[in-house]
Structure formats: structure tokens, C-alpha cells
């Protein structure tokens, strides 16, 4: 079995989908000849041709909009938005059409589309290349929003997204693209959708996180062992819909909840999790729910990005204060 980085696992899943389903078509800026700015599609146009792996014109709105027209014809477009900070021109298409077409045609036209994009900061990228904007998409009915945190999960979730008959937003944490390697079997097995994953069992506190933050949370959890703080870590994985039941089950055992995300706090996905636990699990709590998040500021240029992204220290402090409250 090959040990792959997360971006290599994505490439492997895309190749598997192209190889096994003639309806799968990749599209995006610089994904063909160049293999993608992060190399997620490296070698795929050479292997599958320019009609299966299309270099799109430089317009995110037309990429998302053409994906709608292609999917309505039975193709399964996997569209790449080069960076999440460039999602805005595509939002009209994603929110007004992709998310709604099945409903507004009573199931006559369905759209099996995946929109992939790099998510988050921490890689010293220029302005507008480090955004965490999942809340924009999670607010819209009719979309699934996924964010893997390991190479194996990225492989399985991407295959699940491509095979899903409805539109899926697939967020790829840029900081994890090449952070670590993991054995990934090219077995074509799709992961389960709509569920979160237990990364670490613990008794004292439930920590919910996703994407690149999972790695920082696991480090914080490891560091807190020396203080006899036993963290249960949940990788949310599916940001919409949220697997609230699994989170509530965990909180019922630990009695404490910390939510960690890189995106800004205001109206972040963490707020939805906190509200749901308050509504449905308040009596299990021994301490107030705490969020450790990006600030409600503009994502800074990269010289300050590590002051914005929740650090291992900030996460550990948040967990410690919650456990000691």
C-alpha cells in the first residue's frame, strides 16, 4: 500500500473516478496542462484527455454554472475552484441553482456535482488565498459540505462525494496537502457521508474540529495528557449536515465541549454546534461551551496568519480552562 500525502490521495481518488465512470469530467482553472496549482490533478489530462479533464476559462461563475448544465445532462462534473477566496463569483450558481435544482423541479433535474477547493491558511499564500468560508455554504439548503483531515479520509470522502447524486462542496485543507503521509489503498471504497469521526477517545472533554485544525487539536490533546486532561477529539468531517447525535453522545459522556475552527467565530459552524448542544444537551454540561476560532477580523496577510489561526497553545488553553471551569 502506498503512503500518500492528502493531495496525492485526492489525485488518486480523481483518477479512480475518471477510470471507472465515463460520466466523470474534471474542470477548473489550470487543472489540465498544469495539473492544478497544488498538483491535485497532476497527470490526469495526459491520461484521460482534454475533454475529461478540462482547462476552464478564468471565470469561477462560469465553472460552477457550466457544471450545472453538464450535470443536468448526466455528466458528473468535479469542478475545482482554485482557492476558496475566489468562491464569491460562483456563489450565485452554487446557492441559487446547484443547491436548489432538485427541489425546484420536484426531482426532475438532479445535479451530481462536486466543487473542490483549497480551504484555509497557514501556507504563506498571498491575499485572498487563505480563506475559511464554510459558513457561507453550510447556510444553504441542498448542499453537502465536506472537509477531510487525513489522506485516507480524503480519498474515501471524495469518492463518496463524486458518487453522491446531489451537489457536494469538498473543502481541502491547504495546510494538510503535504503535511503528512498515510497509507491509502486505491480500493475504490467510498467513505460514509453525513457522519463525523472519532479521532481520539477521552473522558474529560469533547473537542470538535475539522480540516487543518484537527492536527493542532490532536497535538494539544497530547500535550494535555501530562496535566491528566483526557480529551475526546471528533473530526466533524461533514460540516453540513452536521452529525449532531454523535457530538451529543460524546458530550453526554464527557460533560464538556470545546469547538475549534479556523474560520471566523461570528456565525461560524461552531455556533451551530454550540447552539444545538445547548438546546439538546445542556443538562449534560459541567462547564460552559467554549469556542476557539479565528478572530472576527479580516484574514491577515501571511506575516500574521499564525496569530489568526488557533495555535496549539491557544487550543490547549481553551481546553484547560473548560476542564478546570
Amino acid at each position: 500500500m502506498a503512503k500518500l500525502t492528502l493531495v496525492e490521495a485526492i489525485n488518486l481518488a480523481l483518477a479512480h473516478a475518471l477510470q471507472n465512470d465515463p460520466d466523470v469530467v474534471l474542470m477548473g482553472e489550470d487543472i489540465g496542462r498544469n495539473g492544478g496549482v497544488f498538483r491535485a490533478t497532476a497527470g490526469l489530462q495526459q491520461r484521460f484527455g482534454a475533454l475529461r479533464v478540462q482547462d476552464s476559462v478564468l471565470a469561477e461563475g462560469v465553472i460552477a454554472g457550466m457544471a450545472v448544465g453538464m450535470a443536468a445532462q448526466g455528466l458528473k462534473p468535479v469542478a475545482e475552484i482554485q482557492f476558496m477566496g475566489f468562491i464569491y463569483p460562483a456563489l450565485d450558481q452554487i446557492c441559487n441553482h446547484m443547491a436548489r435544482m432538485r427541489n425546484r423541479t420536484r426531482g426532475r433535474i438532479t445535479l451530481p456535482i462536486v466543487v473542490r477547493m483549497p480551504h484555509g491558511g497557514g501556507i504563506h499564500a498571498p491575499e485572498h488565498h487563505s480563506e475559511s468560508l464554510e459558513s457561507l455554504l453550510c447556510h444553504h439548503a441542498g448542499l453537502r459540505v465536506l472537509c477531510p483531515s487525513t489522506p485516507a479520509r480524503a480519498y474515501g470522502l471524495l469518492l463518496a462525494a463524486i458518487r453522491n447524486p446531489d451537489p457536494v462542496i469538498f473543502l481541502e485543507p491547504t495546510r494538510l496537502y503535504r503535511l503528512a503521509r498515510q497509507e491509502v489503498e486505491d480500493d475504490g471504497v467510498a467513505a460514509d457521508l453525513d457522519c463525523c469521526h472519532l479521532l481520539r477517545e477521552g473522558q474529560d472533554v469533547t473537542v470538535v474540529c475539522w480540516g487543518a485544525a484537527t492536527h493542532d487539536v490532536l497535538q494539544a490533546a497530547h500535550a494535555l495528557e501530562s496535566e491528566s486532561i483526557d480529551c475526546e477529539v471528533i473530526d466533524l468531517s461533514s460540516l453540513s449536515p452536521i452529525d449532531h447525535n454523535s457530538i451529543l453522545d460524546s458530550v453526554a459522556r464527557t460533560g464538556r465541549l470545546v469547538i475549534v475552527h479556523e474560520a471566523a467565530r461570528n456565525c461560524g459552524v461552531g455556533a451551530e454546534i454550540a447552539a444545538t448542544v445547548a438546546e439538546r444537551g445542556l443538562y449534560h454540561l459541567h462547564a460552559p461551551i467554549r469556542r476557539v476560532t479565528g478572530y472576527d477580523t479580516v484574514m491577515p496577510y501571511f506575516r500574521l496568519e499564525h496569530d489568526y489561526i488557533p495555535s496549539v497553545t491557544r487550543i490547549a488553553d481553551g481546553i484547560r480552562e473548560t476542564v478546570q471551569a
Binding site: 461563475g61 450545472v68 448544465g69 450558481q93 425546484r104 449536515p241
Partner: protein
Amino acid sequence: MHSVANFDIHYRQLLDAAGMPTGEWPGFGRDPAQLLAMYRMMTLCRVFDTKAINLQRTGRLGTYAPCTGQEATHVGVGAAMQADDVLFPVYREYGTQLWRGVTLAGIYTYWNGDERGTWFDGPRQDFPWCVPIASQMPHAAGAAMAFKVRGQARCAVAYIGDGGTSQGAFYEALNAAGAQTLPLVAVVVNNGWAISVPVAEQTAARTLAQKAIAAGIAGIQVDGNDIIAVRAVMEEALARARNGGGPTLVEALTYRLSDHTTADDATRYRPAGELEAAWQREPLLRTRHYLQAHGHWSDTQEAALRADCQAQVDAAVSAYQALPAASTDSMFEHLFAQLPHELQAQQASARHYAAHKG
């Protein structure tokens, strides 16, 4: 300094406002049966449209976008398309939709606030009405891309209004379709007004057809009240697209003889004289003049046609009014192929309150 590129925009008219032929007609124009079929459909549109406005005025239909005066463009486009082409309408091109098999009752159902109106028993792949302006254009380019990927000799036809040509999605889709040689025909229905803004205030461009030039595709202007020219121009554009010749932008010059919608009052912003003059150029009258002058039509046949259209429309009104109310569950049933667990509680709540209201 020297010129590096030159472009012309041509205008086509084959039947003038008085009903006189003004050029050489294509084959279908010499076939009375085909002309009568188009005339009948234009008449059905007018009767349907008049009824829809009345239904809204009397509280039996939601806000409605009329098509009065634009029937020649709509029916001409429909008649030029093949059944397996795919239509991407805006929201008032009923003539094309009816020609392609969308039902009168379905259109009423949609404007009566019910998603079931977009079910489209006839053209199963045609897109529903598109309210966010110009966003249908990339959909059409996408369908055209699917035809290209699969090597199918099919075309996507997208409508857009004159105001819609100010939107980025309009330019983006034309540009992409040109760059990728896609079988797309875009029809700008230039009816003079984008709600209250006249075309002259929408753009400094002398024609909307010339917007094709920047995209590197064919562009042509046609008298949109002349069903012969509309169909002829569309047949040429579709044949070119089908044969790998790339997209065309067709600007159809017509006039919105109605308000923008039934929620609008055009007398607040539009000169009355302009409207009266436009009625002299409207499409049904000139077609009828031609047909009668050439012995293909009579006053008796006209009366019979009107009565038949009225009967069809009345039946459609009865049908949509008899449709049982949609269930609350339907809000949830079509959200995803499989409703996520977390939404099931909301569905149950909606069901509970729907059952207990009143």
C-alpha cells in the same frame, strides 16, 4: 496605425409590419401548413397570456410575467429547435415552451406559486424558468459542453433579455462557449425595457448583437416580430452550432407590449406614444395579414382558432385550479435524494403544524 480587425452586424427581416415579404424566404415559409402551425401557436400564447393577466388581477394567480408582443420570437425559436435540443428560458418565453410540449396548466401552476409547474411532462431536459438574471447562460454552455463531450449533434438554446446582457454571466458564458466551440445559440430578446430602464441607458453599444464580437462568435440582429426571419436565423445558427461551427448570439428586436410583470405599472415610466407605435408592429397582425392576403386564412378560421385557444386555456385553468395543495413534506422530499437524518425532525415539525393549522 492600421486596422487589425473589422466587424459588421447584419439585420434580417423577411416579413414587414404590414405583412409584406421583404426578402427571399426559406423552405418552411413556402409551406402553408408550417406557417399556420406557427400562427396558431402565437395565437394560443396571446390568449393564454391575456387570461393569465386576468387571473392575476382577480386574485387567482400570483405575480405573472406576460409575453404580449414577443410571440414571434418565442414561437420562431421553438419551431427552429429540434426536440432533443435543450432550452434554457428566462421567464416569459412561453411560446417556445409550449411548442416544445410544456403544458399551459404547468405554466399557470408555476406562476401560482407551486414547484410542480416545473415538472415539464414534455421536454424533460429543458430547464425551468430562471429568475436570477443571466445565470441561465452558463447552464446552457454546460449542456452544450456535455453534447460536445458525448459527440451528440444537439444544441443548447438560451434566452436572455436586453437588461441581462449587462450581467457578467452573459459575457462569461458567451466567452466560454466561443473559446470551447460549444453548440450554443443565445437569443437576446430585446424588448426595449428592463423593467423601467430603456436599452439606451443599459449600454452604449449600438446593438446587443455586437456583444458577440468580443466573444469571437457570430452575432446577428433580427426583427423579432417577424416569425419568418426569427425561425430562419435560428435554423442557420443551430445548423452551424450542430456542425461544430460554434455559438451564435441572436438579438431579436421586439417590444414588451405589457408591463414587466403584473406587479409593475409601465405607465409610470414609459411614454404612451411609444407603446401605441409598437402595437402597429406587433407580430400576430402582420402574420395574419400575410396569411389572409395569400388565401391561407379567413375571418371564419380566425374566429374558430380563437374559440379553440380559449377552450384550451379554460381547460388549463380548471386543471391548475383543481390541483390539490402540495404537502408540507414536499419541501423536504426533493431537497436531496436521501434526506439527511438531521432534517427529519424539522420535517416532522412542519408536518405537525401543517396538520394543526386552522
